[in-house]
Symmetry: D2
Subunit: 135 residues, 4 copies
């Protein structure tokens, strides 16, 4: 429940003229997995506007380990690893699936997220349920 995976194909707009996936594109892969993780944790994208609670990053770090290429099938795994009163930490692994059996780790990331109540912008307490079961 506290770990999700999302997959997508590397398109032209993910690459740059160095011939590989742009460092910036990985942040989109991570965002897709993070949104899906939050959805499964009960914070659905489609309800955020109504509730006026939005996740905001306070820190993001990423290690680029191996270059992705056009047409690669990349899978991003997101895990909730720490939950505090107003902030939580997510970790990500982005793999290329070579085939059924093999995969290569392209990047590893870690982000600190706070939930903000808009329009005040004040931190919103993380849901009690997020703290119950350690990942």
């Amino acid at each position: 429940m506290k770990e999700v995976s999302s997959s997508e194909t590397v398109l032209f707009y993910d690459t740059d003229c160095g011939g590989v996936v742009s460092n910036i594109a990985y942040l989109r892969y991570v965002e897709r997995a993070r949104c899906q993780l939050f959805e499964e944790l009960g914070l659905a994208l489609a309800e955020m506007e109504e509730k006026a609670v939005f996740p905001a990053l306070t820190r993001s770090e990423i290690d680029y380990l191996s270059p992705g290429k056009l047409g690669d099938r990349v899978t991003t795994t997101a895990r909730l690893v720490e939950v505090g009163k107003v902030r939580c930490v997510c970790e990500y692994e982005i793999h290329r699936s070579e085939n059924e059996a093999e995969k290569t780790l392209l990047a590893r990331a870690r982000q600190t997220v706070v939930l903000l109540q808009l329009p005040s912008g004040r931190p919103h307490r993380t849901p009690e349920a997020w703290r119950e079961t350690p990942a």
Copy 2:
């Protein structure tokens, strides 16, 4: 065979502070569907580098009809509608799926594509097979 559909969820990076999907994000949805269309036509992304044949746009037009929102499930349909010696025309429709039965048309696009042989950059003839069956 000459029509494909791809779906994705509207994420934060697709939206802007006007509260709706950015005009630029639709070009990404269209690119995803176009790449999938070309894949089914025999021009797979993963083989483009090897063959050094890349599609390039010479014209793109898009009508924005209804605003997409965060969390929407959007489906882009791509169709090959004209095939000449060196250029072809693709048409796209981007819908939001409300539920099983209903959908709303968000945008409609049309692009002219040429295949380029790199590194010369010379136009590459469109495959004979693309001309056989009209869409």
Copy 3:
């Protein structure tokens, strides 16, 4: 007054693995020039939230004429060419500056813009002053 130019350098994130500027990046160049044009017409970005009036595209078309490359200095010119009651049309030319004297036309674009009053989303009349002096 009704024509502005903005310049920027082609960075990695503007290019793709075809080795040239991505078709999507041109839309960012156009947006920069459009925002600057609207700023000079009295609709400053920083005031949009306060006034809750945002420009929205209803149509965008672009012809890609020559490929831009990493490090190119590109200049985008935006002109207001038609002003109706609730919509206006902007035209753009994107050039690469080779040197003081020479420039190459990379792309030409045309967009229809409506001003929307948020949160209702109703069209907002274009300012009277925009109609006075033809470009």
Copy 4:
């Protein structure tokens, strides 16, 4: 010489529906400053293809401190802070300029960069001159 600044205006495509600058947009601001820093260090964008030497990130970290908004004038400062045989470290500060006298720190970033020789992808030694004067 080893510190540069670049400025740009926050546009719609930099923001998301949370009403503030997207976490991803900061990576573009950082890339603009990094490219300019490398240009001043003798590694001009326009010559990279010819020399087939490209910078690649191996690590990126960013702390988001205060939200940027549409129309803000942001200035990114890049500094070369460590230079090894094949890798170097750059640090960045992204400020909003309130006026002549005041500025607010929006984000702080740090990236590890290696120079790669293409097409082999082998690391290229950092230029001797980069090691001479500490920043």
